[in-house]
């Protein structure tokens, strides 16, 4: 690529402005890969079209996931990015690092790849952006030496991720980071070698605020909650009332979804039997209110992006489960789900779609869970009931 051709007037405009510039990031790397990447991007800005082709089957030996193959459609012009794969590196739970380990990761990636990363990808991985096919294996080797491994891609378990939970949040109803680490280690094989009809994601959030958006984008969403009373520090309530930033009646009590709170200007009362643990009042007065002490998590299943049948949010599968190592109940559930879906799920059918297809009732039957009204927003309105009259009759799903 000649100096002349490397002019990138369109892309350069994005160096300006108060928000950190990804263009500056690319330019800061004085290497041929980064230069060609910029060139390709400029072309895209000019052509209004991407210049990447479908990835092929590239990866590291023995793994079926962790690498996204990517080739450019202008390889003659931009040979350095002709093959420009990404490595998905499994991040440490909670995205905590020391300066030391970060520097070592940088060294590996500067040596073997473009030096560009995403901190982080949307699933949570450290993304090493731009690796040639030959460098995949050496990079992987260096990573494992450093104690890192690849994350998931394809029809694998994907890299589990979580909010920082107990590490830095007073509301975590269970130890999200511990569970994330535990599950990641337990299911290494599923993470690296595609065993499923389609991808499967775990996301753990310590409370219903769901700071990791688990209810929207995890095949299994594990969200902290509690059963007993919200703890109220009456003095701190008064402090809030006196400080005056908050109108307790308007901003807190009247926004409670079940209207189970009352405030007479002196005392804040909560009818906990009627509280749906939405977190709002606690969010509004963190110093005065706190989740109860009988804590655990709700297990929800099935969220995903629109492809193919439309987007889904996860739905309740287990209303409340204690979350303590070794998490046996949870793992039993996971195994049961995977077994059923693994056997009967269609190719590219996420578990949420699978459940809708075979019916949640049948699904519960199969995995041996009792139906409870917490699993539904409302009972059926249509009268099209598949009555089963013979107890001997086994449910049979259609396997087309």
């Amino acid at each position: 690529m000649s100096e002349k051709e490397l002019k990138t007037p369109l892309v350069d405009e994005l160096e300006e402005g108060p928000w950190p510039s990804f263009v500056k990031e690319i330019k800061s790397l004085d290497n041929p890969k980064a230069k060609d990447l910029l060139g390709v991007l400029e072309r895209s800005y000019r052509d209004k079209v991407g210049h990447w082709k479908h990835g092929g089957l590239v990866g590291v030996m023995g793994y079926g996931g962790g690498v996204i193959g990517r080739y450019n459609d202008l390889p003659d012009e931009f040979p350095e990015v002709a093959a420009f794969h990404t490595l998905r590196v499994n991040h440490p739970a909670g995205w905590f690092y020391t300066s030391d380990v970060l520097r070592k990761l940088c060294d590996v990636w500067e040596e073997h790849g473009s030096g560009l990363t995403n901190m982080h990808g949307s699933t949570g991985d450290i993304i090493f952006l731009g690796c040639s096919t030959e460098e995949l294996e050496p990079t992987f080797k260096k990573l494992t030496e450093l104690g890192f491994d690849l994350g998931g891609s394809g029809s694998c378990l994907r890299t589990p991720s979580c909010c920082n939970g107990m590490a830095r949040c007073e509301w975590a109803c269970y130890d999200t980071m511990a569970l994330t680490y535990d599950l990641t280690m337990e299911y290494q094989d599923e993470l690296h070698r595609p065993p499923f009809p389609y991808k499967f994601k775990f996301k753990m959030a310590g409370c219903a605020n769901d700071c990791v958006a688990s209810i929207a984008r995890a095949d299994m969403s594990i969200i902290g909650t509690w059963k007993d009373e919200i703890r109220i520090d009456a003095d701190a309530v008064k402090e809030y009332a006196e400080a005056g930033d908050l109108d307790i009646l308007v901003d807190v009590v009247s926004r409670c979804p079940t209207k189970c709170m009352s405030w007479d200007g002196q005392e804040l009362l909560i009818d906990d039997a009627d509280c749906v643990k939405c977190m709002h009042c606690i969010n509004a007065m963190p110093k005065a209110l706190a989740p109860g002490k009988d804590r655990g998590a709700t297990i929800l299943v099935g969220s995903k992006a629109p492809i193919i049948g439309g987007a889904l949010l996860s739905s309740v599968m287990v209303p409340f489960l204690k979350m303590e190592p070794p998490y046996e109940d949870l793992k039993e559930l996971v195994d049961a789900l995977w077994e059923l879906w693994g056997e009967h799920g269609k190719n590219r059918e996420r578990i949420g779609e699978f459940i809708q297809r075979i019916g949640l009732g049948n699904f519960l039957d199969q995995i041996g869970l009792d139906p409870t009204p917490e699993m539904i927003a409302q009972p059926r309105a249509n009268p099209y009931i598949f009555y089963e009259l013979d107890d001997e009759d086994e449910y049979e799903d259609d396997e087309d």
Partner: protein, 360 residues
């Protein structure tokens, strides 16, 4: 398997997080009591022990070079014993035990172009995807649109001055990597013409039955072109989802003139107050206009400003719209309501207005 393979270290998983936690976190793990915001970009967690942890949050471009990561590492060494983290929205957070170091750190960050902010009722770092930087499926660039947007909306990152959190997200195609479908404002890349079929390569690259089966609307039919097995697309049945392209590289949708962006509003993920919700269509199409996508930026700013002016404290964008009603949302924002806003996919009927509950 080769003997070579046997020596390789595999399946070690990620390093245990504990080794990366600063002492103050280890000591107060699970024992934090409450938090407060010290100033824009700084929050303080107070432990039952009385310990105070100062978190300084700075914007990151997500697409980081090793130089920037090393810069963050240097700052961590200088200000907080080498400890830092990233957030679920790609910000970088420095974890300080010493209050006096907060302001100096902020100054250093600012000097290098990494502003602090994003806490509380602000617009935090948008979740986004690969775009023209890396993905074959992209109908637009991700990083570019996000950069243009945040340059413009910067004030809302820097100061928590909105009625509630406002989550922006960007995805470059209908696969919607990220949680775009449940964002206060989502920008979504869209294709708008049917797949172009490469009859030369399709036999080699694609399984015809899988390709036919991939289409959610059944728009793909097997056919024969010049004696070769291929597929054809029934134009009226295609809604440009690119699902066929995902399984068959010979069916491309990218198009300089037809591709562009759509805007979706009112989604949320948290359970606070109201249940999580999907984002709903606000603007069906805006053409790609790099490098700064001014029409997109203007459209988003308009929505943010109308929301900021009208919503009550704690009301997320979607909660505000549900209070005032969708007709009012369209009226206040001046966005045109079209037939595209009316759902016509599988559960469409569920979105029709089946009551008299609207403002006359």
């Amino acid at each position: 398997m080769s003997t070579n393979l046997k020596k390789r270290v595999t399946d070690i998983g990620p390093p245990h997080y504990e080794q990366f936690l600063p002492p103050i976190i280890k000591e107060n793990y699970g024992k934090w009591k409450y938090h407060y915001f010290m100033r824009a970009g700084v929050m303080v967690h107070v432990g039952e022990s009385g310990d105070q942890l100062y978190t300084v949050r700075a914007a990151s471009p997500r697409l980081c070079s090793v130089h920037t990561i090393r810069f963050f590492a240097d700052l961590a060494d200088e200000f907080c014993d080498g400890y830092l983290r990233f957030t679920s929205r790609n910000n970088v957070e420095f974890l300080l035990s010493d209050e006096s170091k907060v302001e100096p750190l902020i100054e250093r960050l600012a000097k290098e172009g990494f502003p602090v902010g994003g806490f509380g009722n602000s617009i935090s770092n948008p979740v986004h995807t690969q775009g023209w930087i890396h993905c074959h499926s992209a109908a637009s660039d991700a990083s570019g649109v996000v950069k243009a947007l945040m340059d413009d909306l910067f004030e809302y990152f820097a100061e928590p001055k909105l009625p509630a959190k406002l989550r922006l997200a960007f995805a470059c195609c209908l696969n919607m990597c990220g949680a775009v479908h449940c964002s206060d404002i989502a920008i979504l890349g869209v294709h708008r013409r049917i797949p172009e079929i490469n009859n030369e390569t399709i036999r080699a690259q694609c399984e015809i039955p899988t390709t036919v089966a991939s289409c959610p609307t059944g728009a793909i039919r097997p056919t024969t072109v010049n004696g070769t097995k291929s597929v054809e697309v029934i134009e009226e049945q295609c809604m440009f989802c690119a699902n066929c392209y995902t399984v068959c590289p010979s069916m491309t949708l990218n198009d300089p003139e037809m591709d562009g962006l759509s805007i979706w509003v009112g989604g949320k993920v948290s359970n606070a107050r109201t249940e999580p919700k999907f984002s709903k269509l606000a603007i069906p199409y805006i053409p790609n206009n790099p490098p700064r996508w001014p029409e997109v930026v203007e459209a988003v700013r308009n929505i943010v400003e109308v929301y900021a002016a009208g919503a009550q404290k704690f009301e997320r964008l979607g909660e505000w719209i549900e209070r005032i009603g969708w007709p009012k949302f369209f009226e206040l924002t001046g966005i045109e309501f079209t037939k595209y806003h009316i759902d016509d996919f599988s559960h469409a009927g569920e979105t029709f207005k089946r009551s008299l509950h609207f403002r006359q």
